[in-house]
Protein backbone atom coordinates (compact mmCIF):
# COMPACT_ATOMS: atom_id res chain seq x y z
CA UNK A 1 0.00 0.00 0.00
CA UNK A 2 1.32 3.48 -0.80
CA UNK A 3 2.02 5.87 2.09
CA UNK A 4 -1.10 7.85 1.32
CA UNK A 5 -3.46 7.67 -1.59
CA UNK A 6 -5.10 11.01 -2.32
CA UNK A 7 -8.05 11.95 -4.48
CA UNK A 8 -5.55 13.51 -6.89
CA UNK A 9 -3.79 10.15 -7.15
CA UNK A 10 -7.14 8.60 -8.05
CA UNK A 11 -7.58 11.15 -10.85
CA UNK A 12 -4.00 10.63 -12.00
CA UNK A 13 -4.16 6.83 -12.25
CA UNK A 14 -3.28 5.77 -15.75
CA UNK A 15 -6.05 3.24 -16.33
CA UNK A 16 -6.92 2.00 -19.76
CA UNK A 17 -9.90 0.63 -21.68
CA UNK A 18 -12.10 -1.49 -19.46
CA UNK A 19 -10.42 -0.17 -16.30
CA UNK A 20 -10.81 3.55 -17.04
CA UNK A 21 -12.84 5.52 -14.50
CA UNK A 22 -13.16 8.62 -16.78
CA UNK A 23 -13.12 10.98 -13.82
CA UNK A 24 -13.03 14.77 -14.07
CA UNK A 25 -13.02 17.24 -11.22
CA UNK A 26 -15.82 19.83 -11.30
CA UNK A 27 -15.46 21.55 -7.94
CA UNK A 28 -13.53 21.53 -4.67
CA UNK A 29 -10.06 21.35 -6.21
CA UNK A 30 -8.57 22.56 -2.94
CA UNK A 31 -9.54 19.23 -1.40
CA UNK A 32 -7.72 17.09 -3.96
CA UNK A 33 -5.03 16.34 -1.40
CA UNK A 34 -7.59 14.54 0.81
CA UNK A 35 -6.55 10.99 1.55
CA UNK A 36 -8.61 7.92 0.70
CA UNK A 37 -7.99 5.39 3.46
CA UNK A 38 -10.34 2.55 2.56
CA UNK A 39 -10.59 0.43 -0.58
CA UNK A 40 -14.36 0.82 -0.76
CA UNK A 41 -17.08 3.32 -1.62
CA UNK A 42 -20.26 4.41 0.09
CA UNK A 43 -23.71 5.23 -1.35
CA UNK A 44 -24.87 8.14 0.81
CA UNK A 45 -28.62 7.57 0.30
CA UNK A 46 -29.44 7.15 3.99
CA UNK A 47 -27.17 10.01 4.99
CA UNK A 48 -28.95 12.34 2.55
CA UNK A 49 -32.23 11.55 4.25
CA UNK A 50 -30.64 12.52 7.55
CA UNK A 51 -29.77 9.11 9.00
CA UNK A 52 -26.11 9.14 10.04
CA UNK A 53 -25.75 6.04 12.25
CA UNK A 54 -22.83 3.96 11.01
CA UNK A 55 -22.13 6.49 8.27
CA UNK A 56 -18.63 5.83 6.92
CA UNK A 57 -16.98 9.18 6.13
CA UNK A 58 -13.63 7.67 5.12
CA UNK A 59 -14.90 6.36 1.80
CA UNK A 60 -15.54 8.20 -1.45
CA UNK A 61 -19.29 8.93 -1.66
CA UNK A 62 -20.92 7.69 -4.85
CA UNK A 63 -24.02 9.53 -6.13
CA UNK A 64 -25.93 7.38 -8.59
CA UNK A 65 -29.40 7.87 -10.09
CA UNK A 66 -31.22 7.39 -6.79
CA UNK A 67 -29.06 9.85 -4.89
CA UNK A 68 -29.21 12.50 -7.61
CA UNK A 69 -33.01 12.21 -7.80
CA UNK A 70 -33.13 12.74 -4.04
CA UNK A 71 -30.73 15.67 -4.36
CA UNK A 72 -33.14 17.32 -6.82
CA UNK A 73 -35.94 16.85 -4.26
CA UNK A 74 -33.79 18.41 -1.56
CA UNK A 75 -32.91 21.35 -3.76
CA UNK A 76 -36.62 21.94 -4.58
CA UNK A 77 -37.28 22.25 -0.87
CA UNK A 78 -33.91 23.97 -0.46
CA UNK A 79 -33.03 21.86 2.55
CA UNK A 80 -29.27 21.50 2.59
CA UNK A 81 -28.65 20.45 6.19
CA UNK A 82 -27.94 16.78 5.48
CA UNK A 83 -25.57 17.70 2.65
CA UNK A 84 -23.72 20.14 4.88
CA UNK A 85 -23.53 17.41 7.47
CA UNK A 86 -22.07 14.95 4.93
CA UNK A 87 -19.45 17.48 3.85
CA UNK A 88 -18.72 18.33 7.47
CA UNK A 89 -17.87 14.70 8.26
CA UNK A 90 -14.62 14.97 6.32
CA UNK A 91 -15.43 12.73 3.34
CA UNK A 92 -12.60 12.43 0.78
CA UNK A 93 -14.73 13.18 -2.30
CA UNK A 94 -18.14 12.95 -3.98
CA UNK A 95 -18.42 11.07 -7.24
CA UNK A 96 -21.37 11.53 -9.62
CA UNK A 97 -21.95 8.90 -12.27
CA UNK A 98 -23.78 9.29 -15.62
CA UNK A 99 -22.02 12.69 -15.97
CA UNK A 100 -24.65 14.22 -13.70
CA UNK A 101 -23.65 17.75 -12.78
CA UNK A 102 -25.20 18.65 -9.40
CA UNK A 103 -26.89 21.99 -8.64
CA UNK A 104 -24.88 25.20 -8.26
CA UNK A 105 -25.61 25.26 -4.53
CA UNK A 106 -24.18 21.78 -4.06
CA UNK A 107 -21.00 22.72 -5.93
CA UNK A 108 -20.77 25.89 -3.87
CA UNK A 109 -21.07 23.93 -0.61
CA UNK A 110 -18.42 21.49 -1.84
CA UNK A 111 -16.16 24.42 -2.61
CA UNK A 112 -16.55 25.92 0.88
CA UNK A 113 -15.96 22.57 2.57
CA UNK A 114 -13.10 21.80 0.16
CA UNK A 115 -14.55 18.47 -0.92
CA UNK A 116 -13.73 17.51 -4.52
CA UNK A 117 -16.74 16.77 -6.74
CA UNK A 118 -15.84 14.27 -9.46
CA UNK A 119 -17.89 13.30 -12.49
CA UNK A 120 -17.74 10.11 -14.49
CA UNK A 121 -19.64 9.25 -17.69
CA UNK A 122 -20.00 5.59 -16.63
CA UNK A 123 -23.16 4.23 -15.09
CA UNK A 124 -23.14 3.43 -11.38
CA UNK A 125 -22.82 -0.35 -11.58
CA UNK A 126 -19.92 -0.28 -14.07
CA UNK A 127 -18.25 2.48 -12.11
CA UNK A 128 -18.62 0.59 -8.81
CA UNK A 129 -17.06 -2.56 -10.24
CA UNK A 130 -14.15 -0.61 -11.70
CA UNK A 131 -13.41 1.56 -8.70
CA UNK A 132 -13.56 -1.36 -6.27
CA UNK A 133 -11.15 -3.27 -8.49
CA UNK A 134 -8.88 -0.23 -8.80
CA UNK A 135 -8.86 0.54 -5.08
CA UNK A 136 -8.28 -3.12 -4.21
CA UNK A 137 -5.24 -2.98 -6.45
CA UNK A 138 -4.00 0.27 -4.90
CA UNK A 139 -4.46 -0.99 -1.34
CA UNK A 140 -3.06 -4.46 -2.00
CA UNK A 141 -0.02 -5.45 0.11
CA UNK A 142 3.04 -4.47 -1.87
CA UNK A 143 6.75 -5.22 -1.82
CA UNK A 144 9.72 -4.41 -4.02
CA UNK A 145 12.02 -7.35 -4.59
CA UNK A 146 15.46 -7.50 -6.12
CA UNK A 147 15.24 -9.95 -8.98
CA UNK A 148 14.45 -10.41 -12.63
CA UNK A 149 10.91 -11.23 -13.66
CA UNK A 150 10.38 -13.14 -16.90
CA UNK A 151 7.54 -14.95 -18.62
CA UNK A 152 8.65 -18.37 -19.79
CA UNK A 153 6.16 -20.26 -21.97
CA UNK A 154 3.33 -18.34 -20.38
CA UNK A 155 4.49 -18.95 -16.80
CA UNK A 156 5.63 -15.98 -14.71
CA UNK A 157 9.03 -16.84 -13.23
CA UNK A 158 10.77 -14.69 -10.66
CA UNK A 159 14.54 -15.12 -10.82
CA UNK A 160 16.27 -14.35 -7.55
CA UNK A 161 19.90 -14.44 -6.52
CA UNK A 162 22.80 -12.27 -5.48
CA UNK A 163 23.93 -9.43 -7.63
CA UNK A 164 26.27 -10.69 -10.35
CA UNK A 165 25.14 -14.32 -10.28
CA UNK A 166 23.80 -14.01 -13.83
CA UNK A 167 20.07 -13.30 -13.57
CA UNK A 168 20.13 -10.66 -16.29
CA UNK A 169 22.23 -12.85 -18.58
CA UNK A 170 19.82 -15.75 -18.09
CA UNK A 171 16.93 -13.39 -18.86
CA UNK A 172 18.69 -12.23 -22.01
CA UNK A 173 19.09 -15.76 -23.26
CA UNK A 174 15.46 -16.54 -22.41
CA UNK A 175 14.37 -13.49 -24.45
CA UNK A 176 16.56 -14.71 -27.29
CA UNK A 177 14.74 -18.04 -27.08
CA UNK A 178 11.36 -16.36 -27.54
CA UNK A 179 10.32 -15.68 -23.95
CA UNK A 180 9.48 -12.32 -22.41
CA UNK A 181 10.92 -9.82 -19.98
CA UNK A 182 8.61 -8.19 -17.46
CA UNK A 183 11.27 -6.30 -15.54
CA UNK A 184 14.87 -6.29 -14.42
CA UNK A 185 16.30 -5.67 -10.96
CA UNK A 186 13.41 -4.09 -9.08
CA UNK A 187 10.13 -5.99 -9.22
CA UNK A 188 7.01 -4.40 -7.76
CA UNK A 189 4.95 -7.24 -6.29
CA UNK A 190 1.32 -6.90 -5.24
CA UNK A 191 -0.82 -9.49 -3.54
CA UNK A 192 -4.32 -9.34 -4.99
CA UNK A 193 -7.34 -11.16 -3.57
CA UNK A 194 -5.08 -12.79 -0.98
CA UNK A 195 -3.68 -15.57 -3.15
CA UNK A 196 -2.34 -14.08 -6.36
CA UNK A 197 0.95 -12.25 -6.76
CA UNK A 198 1.24 -9.76 -9.59
CA UNK A 199 4.65 -8.50 -10.63
CA UNK A 200 5.41 -5.44 -12.71
CA UNK A 201 8.18 -2.87 -13.14
CA UNK A 202 8.51 -0.34 -10.32
CA UNK A 203 8.66 2.37 -12.95
CA UNK A 204 6.85 1.53 -16.22
CA UNK A 205 8.90 3.97 -18.29
CA UNK A 206 12.20 2.44 -17.19
CA UNK A 207 10.91 -1.09 -16.98
CA UNK A 208 12.01 -2.93 -20.06
CA UNK A 209 15.71 -2.34 -19.79
CA UNK A 210 18.34 -4.89 -18.87
CA UNK A 211 21.74 -4.23 -17.45
CA UNK A 212 24.31 -6.71 -18.72
CA UNK A 213 27.86 -6.65 -17.36
CA UNK A 214 30.24 -5.54 -20.07
CA UNK A 215 27.57 -4.19 -22.43
CA UNK A 216 25.66 -1.79 -20.23
CA UNK A 217 21.98 -0.93 -20.25
CA UNK A 218 20.01 -2.24 -23.21
CA UNK A 219 16.43 -1.52 -24.25
CA UNK A 220 14.80 -4.90 -24.71
CA UNK A 221 11.66 -3.63 -26.47
CA UNK A 222 13.76 -1.81 -29.06
CA UNK A 223 16.33 -4.56 -29.53
CA UNK A 224 14.07 -7.62 -29.62
CA UNK A 225 10.74 -6.08 -30.53
CA UNK A 226 7.57 -5.59 -28.58
CA UNK A 227 6.92 -9.34 -28.50
CA UNK A 228 9.84 -9.69 -26.08
CA UNK A 229 8.23 -7.69 -23.30
CA UNK A 230 5.26 -8.02 -21.01
CA UNK A 231 3.81 -5.31 -18.76
CA UNK A 232 2.42 -7.30 -15.89
CA UNK A 233 2.24 -10.96 -15.03
CA UNK A 234 1.18 -13.30 -12.28
CA UNK A 235 4.14 -14.81 -10.45
CA UNK A 236 3.80 -18.58 -10.54
CA UNK A 237 7.21 -19.84 -9.52
CA UNK A 238 10.47 -18.71 -8.00
CA UNK A 239 13.87 -19.81 -9.24
CA UNK A 240 16.85 -18.88 -7.14
CA UNK A 241 20.21 -18.80 -8.85
CA UNK A 242 23.30 -19.24 -6.72
CA UNK A 243 26.97 -19.79 -7.30
CA UNK A 244 27.77 -23.49 -7.25
CA UNK A 245 29.04 -24.42 -3.80
CA UNK A 246 31.13 -27.58 -3.72
CA UNK A 247 30.16 -28.29 -0.13
CA UNK A 248 26.45 -27.92 -0.61
CA UNK A 249 23.93 -30.63 -1.42
CA UNK A 250 21.68 -29.85 -4.36
CA UNK A 251 18.40 -31.47 -5.26
CA UNK A 252 19.06 -34.59 -7.30
CA UNK A 253 15.74 -36.37 -7.53
CA UNK A 254 13.15 -33.64 -7.36
CA UNK A 255 10.59 -35.89 -5.74
CA UNK A 256 9.96 -33.36 -2.99
CA UNK A 257 8.49 -30.00 -3.95
CA UNK A 258 10.00 -26.91 -2.36
CA UNK A 259 8.11 -23.70 -1.80
CA UNK A 260 8.79 -20.14 -0.71
CA UNK A 261 6.44 -17.41 0.44
CA UNK A 262 6.17 -13.82 -0.69
CA UNK A 263 3.63 -11.58 1.06
CA UNK A 264 2.16 -14.70 2.62
CA UNK A 265 1.52 -16.45 -0.69
CA UNK A 266 3.33 -19.74 -1.09
CA UNK A 267 4.87 -20.48 -4.48
CA UNK A 268 6.81 -23.45 -5.85
CA UNK A 269 10.49 -22.61 -5.72
CA UNK A 270 13.78 -24.19 -6.64
CA UNK A 271 17.48 -23.47 -6.38
CA UNK A 272 19.61 -23.76 -9.48
CA UNK A 273 23.37 -23.67 -8.92
CA UNK A 274 25.31 -21.72 -11.51
CA UNK A 275 28.74 -22.66 -12.81
CA UNK A 276 30.50 -22.25 -16.13
CA UNK A 277 29.17 -24.69 -18.69
CA UNK A 278 25.66 -24.87 -17.28
CA UNK A 279 23.18 -23.25 -19.61
CA UNK A 280 20.88 -21.53 -17.16
CA UNK A 281 18.25 -20.50 -19.70
CA UNK A 282 17.66 -24.08 -20.77
CA UNK A 283 17.56 -25.21 -17.14
CA UNK A 284 14.94 -22.58 -16.40
CA UNK A 285 12.92 -23.57 -19.47
CA UNK A 286 13.02 -27.19 -18.39
CA UNK A 287 12.06 -26.34 -14.82
CA UNK A 288 9.06 -24.37 -16.12
CA UNK A 289 7.94 -27.18 -18.42
CA UNK A 290 8.26 -29.61 -15.54
CA UNK A 291 6.18 -27.25 -13.39
CA UNK A 292 3.48 -27.19 -16.06
CA UNK A 293 3.49 -30.97 -16.26
CA UNK A 294 3.10 -31.12 -12.47
CA UNK A 295 0.14 -28.77 -12.68
CA UNK A 296 -1.41 -31.09 -15.27
CA UNK A 297 -1.01 -33.92 -12.77
CA UNK A 298 2.11 -35.55 -14.10
CA UNK A 299 5.03 -35.45 -11.68
CA UNK A 300 8.10 -36.71 -13.55
CA UNK A 301 10.20 -37.53 -10.49
CA UNK A 302 7.40 -39.22 -8.57
CA UNK A 303 6.27 -41.11 -11.67
CA UNK A 304 9.83 -42.31 -12.18
CA UNK A 305 10.04 -43.39 -8.56
CA UNK A 306 6.74 -45.28 -8.85
CA UNK A 307 8.05 -47.10 -11.90
CA UNK A 308 11.26 -48.03 -10.09
CA UNK A 309 9.30 -49.38 -7.13
CA UNK A 310 6.99 -51.36 -9.42
CA UNK A 311 9.91 -52.78 -11.38
CA UNK A 312 11.78 -53.75 -8.20
CA UNK A 313 8.68 -55.47 -6.89
CA UNK A 314 8.20 -57.43 -10.10
CA UNK A 315 11.91 -58.34 -10.19
CA UNK A 316 11.57 -59.46 -6.60
CA UNK A 317 8.58 -61.62 -7.46
CA UNK A 318 10.47 -63.04 -10.44
CA UNK A 319 13.50 -64.08 -8.44
CA UNK A 320 11.31 -65.60 -5.75
CA UNK A 321 9.39 -67.49 -8.45
CA UNK A 322 12.57 -68.64 -10.21
CA UNK A 323 14.14 -69.79 -6.97
CA UNK A 324 11.03 -71.79 -6.17
CA UNK A 325 10.94 -73.52 -9.56
CA UNK A 326 14.67 -74.31 -9.27
CA UNK A 327 14.13 -75.78 -5.83
CA UNK A 328 11.25 -77.86 -7.22
CA UNK A 329 13.48 -79.23 -9.97
CA UNK A 330 16.03 -80.48 -7.47
CA UNK A 331 13.43 -82.20 -5.36
Amino acid sequence: MPKSFTVLDLLDLDLKDHNALNLTCKAGRKGLSKVITQPDINRPGLALSGFFDDFNPNRPQLFGNGETAYLRKLSEHSSWESIEEIFGRGIPCCIFTNSYLPEERFLHLAETHQVPVLLSDLNSSDFTVRIIRTLADVFAPQRTIHGVFVEVSGVGVLLLGDSGVGKSEAALELIERGHRLVCDDAVDIRCVSGNTLLGKPVNPTLGHHLEVRGIGIINVAQLFGVAAIQFQKEIEMIIELETWDQNKEYERLGTKDQSAAILGVSLPSMKIPVKPGRNIAILIETAVMNHRLKKMGFHSAQEFNQNVIQWLESENARTVYLRKTQENQFL
Partner: protein
Protein backbone atom coordinates in the same frame (compact mmCIF):
# COMPACT_ATOMS: atom_id res chain seq x y z
CA UNK B 1 23.99 -4.39 10.46
CA UNK B 2 25.09 -0.79 9.95
CA UNK B 3 22.72 1.95 8.88
CA UNK B 4 23.18 5.55 7.88
CA UNK B 5 20.94 8.27 6.49
CA UNK B 6 22.39 10.46 3.78
CA UNK B 7 20.93 13.27 1.74
CA UNK B 8 21.59 13.40 -1.97
CA UNK B 9 22.75 16.92 -2.78
CA UNK B 10 23.75 16.92 -6.42
CA UNK B 11 21.22 18.71 -8.61
CA UNK B 12 20.20 15.93 -10.98
CA UNK B 13 19.70 13.32 -8.26
CA UNK B 14 20.78 9.73 -8.81
CA UNK B 15 20.72 9.34 -12.58
CA UNK B 16 22.69 6.84 -14.62
CA UNK B 17 26.21 8.14 -13.90
CA UNK B 18 25.95 8.45 -10.09
CA UNK B 19 24.11 5.12 -10.03
CA UNK B 20 27.00 3.56 -11.92
CA UNK B 21 29.47 5.00 -9.40
CA UNK B 22 27.49 3.72 -6.42
CA UNK B 23 27.15 0.24 -7.90
CA UNK B 24 30.85 0.05 -8.81
CA UNK B 25 31.81 1.08 -5.30
CA UNK B 26 29.26 -1.25 -3.67
CA UNK B 27 30.58 -4.20 -5.62
CA UNK B 28 34.02 -3.73 -4.05
CA UNK B 29 32.56 -4.91 -0.74
CA UNK B 30 31.43 -8.40 0.09
CA UNK B 31 28.63 -7.25 2.41
CA UNK B 32 25.06 -7.11 1.26
CA UNK B 33 24.29 -3.42 0.80
CA UNK B 34 20.85 -1.85 0.50
CA UNK B 35 19.51 1.58 -0.24
CA UNK B 36 16.13 2.59 1.05
CA UNK B 37 13.93 5.46 -0.06
CA UNK B 38 10.66 5.69 1.83
CA UNK B 39 9.14 2.21 1.49
CA UNK B 40 11.29 1.00 -1.37
CA UNK B 41 14.42 -0.95 -0.57
CA UNK B 42 16.79 -2.03 -3.32
CA UNK B 43 20.11 -3.78 -3.63
CA UNK B 44 22.91 -1.22 -3.97
CA UNK B 45 24.82 -3.56 -6.26
CA UNK B 46 22.15 -3.42 -8.94
CA UNK B 47 22.15 -0.45 -11.27
CA UNK B 48 18.60 -0.72 -12.66
CA UNK B 49 17.12 -0.98 -9.18
CA UNK B 50 18.99 2.10 -8.09
CA UNK B 51 17.92 4.15 -11.11
CA UNK B 52 14.28 3.11 -10.85
CA UNK B 53 14.29 4.17 -7.19
CA UNK B 54 14.11 7.71 -8.59
CA UNK B 55 16.17 9.60 -6.03
CA UNK B 56 15.83 13.36 -6.52
CA UNK B 57 17.98 16.17 -5.21
CA UNK B 58 17.56 16.72 -1.44
CA UNK B 59 16.09 13.29 -0.85
CA UNK B 60 17.26 11.45 2.21
CA UNK B 61 18.05 7.80 1.63
CA UNK B 62 19.04 5.13 4.08
CA UNK B 63 22.16 3.09 3.47
CA UNK B 64 22.43 -0.24 5.20
CA UNK B 65 24.88 -3.09 5.01
CA UNK B 66 25.20 -6.56 6.47
CA UNK B 67 28.47 -8.49 6.32
CA UNK B 68 32.12 -8.53 7.28
CA UNK B 69 32.96 -5.12 5.81
CA UNK B 70 29.64 -3.44 6.59
CA UNK B 71 31.11 -0.42 8.40
CA UNK B 72 33.58 0.40 5.65
CA UNK B 73 30.93 -0.11 2.96
CA UNK B 74 28.44 2.31 4.47
CA UNK B 75 31.18 4.86 5.20
CA UNK B 76 32.53 4.73 1.65
CA UNK B 77 29.08 5.06 0.04
CA UNK B 78 28.07 7.88 2.37
CA UNK B 79 31.27 9.71 1.49
CA UNK B 80 30.64 9.29 -2.24
CA UNK B 81 27.10 10.66 -1.91
CA UNK B 82 28.19 13.50 0.38
CA UNK B 83 30.83 14.54 -2.14
CA UNK B 84 28.09 14.91 -4.77
CA UNK B 85 29.61 12.13 -6.87
CA UNK B 86 32.63 14.30 -7.58
CA UNK B 87 30.51 16.58 -9.72
Amino acid sequence: MVEKDVTVKNRAGIHARPAGMIVTLANKFTSQIFIEKEDDKINAKSIMGLITLGVLCNTTIKLSAVGVDEVAAVEALAKLIDNRFEE
